[in-house]
């Protein structure tokens, strides 16, 4: 009986000590992330895990890709270690709000709605727009999707568009793999997703007999994001500067080439717009 009592007391103590740490967390949440990250020595970046070639699991199980490289660059600039946290497009904003991650670099569109809840870092580091992948000859224009089942991924911001503007029947799956598998096995007529990702799929050689028959509906920048309170704080400013630098010095264009991606007009334009004019140096 005494043993039981000791056990219960120990358990109670253990629990209360867990609660006791809660105020410490609360205090931390008031501090600026930059200070916390530097003290911690680790930057936690949310990246997608199944988003070839931006962030994906390599054969050895490690996360790799363009966004992973960018996350490492941010950590290197701050002189801290990087901890990659796998997120999905459906949970990433919650992860950021719950402070499970310090930063999202996860193929996220810059939208008006998101600007109200997270700190969108300007400028964007990539850009793409919604397009379709379909069996060759199945679709020839956007109007062709009316009334037809179209596969998509849950949580993608423009999903609503293909239903409201073109009258398609949307079937949204939890992941890209399921959505594309549904297309392959004939459960829908097309896969509705980003042109950049579709182009990467088509270039991979796994999709013989498929094509991207339509132009993207629009071009939308992808932005890194920090908690909204940090956007105009030190952390947000540092990130903004870093992304600006990646455009300015051609880092992003180099990454595009390194991962065998088609050159995009948007990256070239950004590089041209943001390149610092050094002609006064006589260069």
């Amino acid at each position: 009986m005494i043993k039981m009592k000791t056990l219960a007391a120990t358990a109670l103590l253990a629990c209360s000590s867990l609660f006791a740490t809660a105020p410490a967390f609360a205090q931390n949440s008031n501090a600026e992330i930059l200070t916390t990250v530097l003290e911690r020595g680790v930057l936690r970046v949310g990246v997608l895990g199944a988003f070839r070639p931006w962030a994906f699991r390599a054969e050895d199980g490690s996360l790799q890709g363009i966004e992973v490289d960018l996350a490492k660059r941010v950590a290197d600039s701050l002189g801290v270690e990087v901890e990659l946290v796998e997120i999905t497009s459906a949970n990433r904003i919650q992860f950021l709000e719950q402070k499970r991650i310090d930063l999202i670099i996860g193929g996220m569109y810059d939208t008006a709605d998101r600007r109200e809840v997270v700190g969108i870092i300007e400028p964007g580091y990539w850009a793409s727009g919604p397009s379709l992948m379909a069996r060759e000859g199945a679709i020839s224009s956007w109007e062709d999707v009316a009334g037809k089942p179209i596969c998509a991924k849950q949580g993608v911001i423009y999903n609503q568009l293909i239903e409201t503007r073109f009258g398609a029947r949307l079937m949204a799956f939890g992941g890209n793999t399921e959505g594309k598998e549904a297309l392959r096995s004939g459960k829908c007529v097309a896969w509705f997703y980003d042109d950049s990702s579709i182009a990467a799929d088509l270039a991979s050689g796994d999709w013989a007999g498929f094509e991207m028959p339509v132009d993207a509906l629009f071009v939308n920048p992808w932005a890194a994001a920090v908690p909204i309170a940090e956007k105009d704080g030190a952390f947000g400013k540092v990130l903004s500067g870093l992304v600006y630098g990646w455009h300015e010095d051609g880092t992003l264009i180099d990454l595009q080439a390194e991962y065998d991606l088609q050159e995009t007009a948007w990256l070239a334009q950004m590089h041209e717009d943001l390149e610092y004019d050094r002609s006064f140096l006589g260069e």
Partner: protein
Amino acid sequence: MLEFTAPLFLSLQKATGLNFSPFFDEYDFGRLMTGLQTSLLLIVCVLVLSLVVGLLGAAAQRSRSRLLRFLVAAYIAVFRNTPPVVQLLFFYFGLGAFTPQIDMGGWYEPMISAFGWAVIALGIFGGSYNVEIFRAGIEAVPKTTSEATEALGFTPLQTFIHVTLPLALRFSLPSLASNLISLAKTTSIAYVIAVPEMTYALSGVWNDRLNVGEMMTLLFVYYIAVVAIIGAVMGQLERRLAVPGLGK
């Protein structure tokens, strides 16, 4: 419907920041309604199929054919020991790849829709539990009862239909109620194969509107209501069918 709710929920949003968009936004309202219809239809279809499978399985368990008894035992072992979401994905992506396609005039659609596969997969999953529930009910009928019917000159089949089965169903009701409730809740996983039921519809809304807390609350309330209704119906049935003295 929206004319009545919109002012209320818009002012709620203004006052508290709570965003119940399906009650003031037409598109989200449409999603909610589709979700509601699909979800309720899915629950009804799955429960009915699971009952049919359960009864057939329990009957097959009493068959003289050893092969048939073995097949039922194997079916129960497989479907009770694997997660329903795995079964659902297996049916949809595994078997679904081999089902015939229908020509819809220039494009094709599979003969069995995602909804159809959800009914089949979840009905068979729930049925595997129902077989055992009915078996337990049948075994709970006292031997002396069938001995008594034998003395009255009933054939074994007559005994089963007129005496054993009615009593067995009564014995089964409490466990059947909990299994049907559990099955109704499990239908929410149909969202993984894009069946537009409630979880799918509301996660669509919260992905677009970022009102996760509000939509999760709505989902929570919806399932409590559904479960309460099924519980009430089953409780009522139990009281209606109660035989004085049985099981005492």
